[in-house]
């Protein structure tokens, strides 16, 4: 037996974050350490034809996971249009009860469970999440906390007494993408150039001051450079500042009436932008790596689901 094989025999579970456009799998030991990992672009949208089971089996095979390794999955794989529906849990949704509501998928692989998402069943503010509830469960939050998870569809979540109490989704990332690639504003996008923070924060301040900024200020991004009143190279930076500022301003009004303490679940360039915009808006920010908190949560939930498997893997 090679040492590689011996390490893999310590595998306790495979943890999977299966989103709309991405797939991430970690083979974890009983302590939660990563033995091996695999990533792909086989998100829910691309997988439908090839099949979820085939895709999962290939990734498990690629990293040499032992046959029968139990698998825990969060994300869009549990959507109605995903692999198998894991019905939403309504708010207030206790974080430590999520694992108990995972659905079991019949496969030729090991025990495979998909975690539920969370829904806000409120006709005035209907909202859903799939995947973020798991990231949040991994934060180990004690007491009341406000959490911001930026992305294609940014989520702002209030945690109260260990449960997801209230949340709101903002299409910030998707709207940035559509406007910068497909609208008339594509003519003033500086192809990936890093804008300066002064320009970014000025746009954030404008958006915080004027809630209707997405209605009133977008066309000016094009007209300003046309009239030599604005630097054409600052277009993407300003668009990003206006969108992120509008999100933070709206979320502050709706969810952050009292506290200014906030957990930011993000990393890289986007995390840095949000951190500086949130500070501008008066928030006291702690940053947590998004992938790490997902893995932490999936491991903790797997330990609840398979206590005896954990024993065996030790």
């Amino acid at each position: 037996m090679t040492s590689d094989e011996s390490v893999r025999r310590n595998a306790f579970c495979a943890a999977v974050d299966w989103g709309t456009t991405s797939f991430r799998l970690w083979l974890l030991d009983a302590g939660g350490a990563v033995i091996a990992q695999s990533r792909g672009t086989e998100g829910m949208e691309r997988v439908r034809e090839r099949g979820f089971e085939t895709t999962l089996a290939e990734h498990l095979d690629k990293i040499g996971a032992p046959a029968g390794t139990p698998v825990i999955i969060c994300g869009m794989a549990g959507a109605r249009q995903g692999w198998m529906e894991a019905p939403y849990r309504p708010v207030p949704a206790p974080l430590d009860e999520l694992a108990a509501h995972a659905v079991r998928v019949e496969t030729s692989l090991g025990d495979v469970r998909i975690l539920p998402g969370v829904a806000q069943i409120d006709a005035d503010a209907p909202d859903v999440m799939r995947g973020e509830e798991t990231q949040i469960a991994g934060l180990g939050v004690q007491g009341d906390t406000l959490v911001c998870l930026p992305g294609t569809h940014s989520k702002w979540v209030r945690i109260e007494e260990g449960a997801i109490a209230d949340f709101a989704t903002f299409m910030t990332g998707e709207i940035f993408d559509l406007l910068s690639r497909h609208s008339i504003l594509r003519h003033v996008m500086d192809a990936g150039e890093e804008g300066d923070e002064t320009t970014f924060l000025a746009a954030v301040r404008e958006a915080l001051a004027e809630p209707d900024v997405l209605t009133t200020k977008l066309f000016a991004l094009r007209a300003g450079p046309l009239l030599s009143l604005a630097d054409p190279a600052a277009g993407a930076t300003r668009l990003s500042g206006l969108l992120i500022g509008a999100e933070i301003g709206a979320a502050r009004r709706r969810l952050a009436a009292e506290s200014r303490k906030l957990l930011l679940v993000s990393s890289g360039r986007l995390g840095a932008l949000y951190r500086s915009a949130l500070a501008e808006a008066g928030f006291d920010v702690d940053t947590v790596d998004a992938e790490e908190t997902t893995r932490t949560a999936l491991h903790a939930m797997a330990r609840r689901l398979w206590p005896s498997a954990e024993e065996n893997a030790r």
Copy 2:
């Protein structure tokens, strides 16, 4: 000589509205009546390769315009990336001076002139128009008036003492198109079904009441039907109501502090939607057909540019 030829000999000018994605040409007699017309999709964007002169010549030929007929053009053909730049006139821009600032294009055709656009050279609210200034000139406005011209990029314009004093552009039509065709909201768009007015006006009212509606309410269009809290067939109607309501609310705050009288330059389904949304917002609306006012203005401007040609055509 056929009667058809005899009619064409009465041609005084060709009037052209040359936009980003469309081309419209009318052969007019000295009184402004339409002798013949031609339309196409050879907007500025498609024409660049084939050439503007070739395209114009083909349309003139197709309707049998006499050789040497003078041509007056408004719209994007006068943009920097168009046929020949007709520099923007700054606000306040007197409507009866637009024709005098038309640029003359050297062609093998008759006398060809392109009208200027109008620019708001204001670092806080930079804005531009090309084509709408001509529509507005055709309205024959006396005194101070507020004008709304809905479309891909809706314009709201304040006329004072016969000049364009102040204006604002809203990307309403373009954002509707991007969100309904390319975003996650495409899943709740009711493929062209006509929504009911009650649903539309409810969305308009929400947007008028909450200026940050484009930040806060879009994702709910998807989440509502997912949670059976909203009719999935109402998605496009609600999106349209939110976007049009947000535009009207912002324009009302910025441009309509005093008066509630408004001229709406539009027609068809879009005109009807704006008319009912504007009434909901408390405006007293008169509607003018967009094409008719363009033609009226181009004819009046041609009479100024070519008084002797007009004599000859009578």
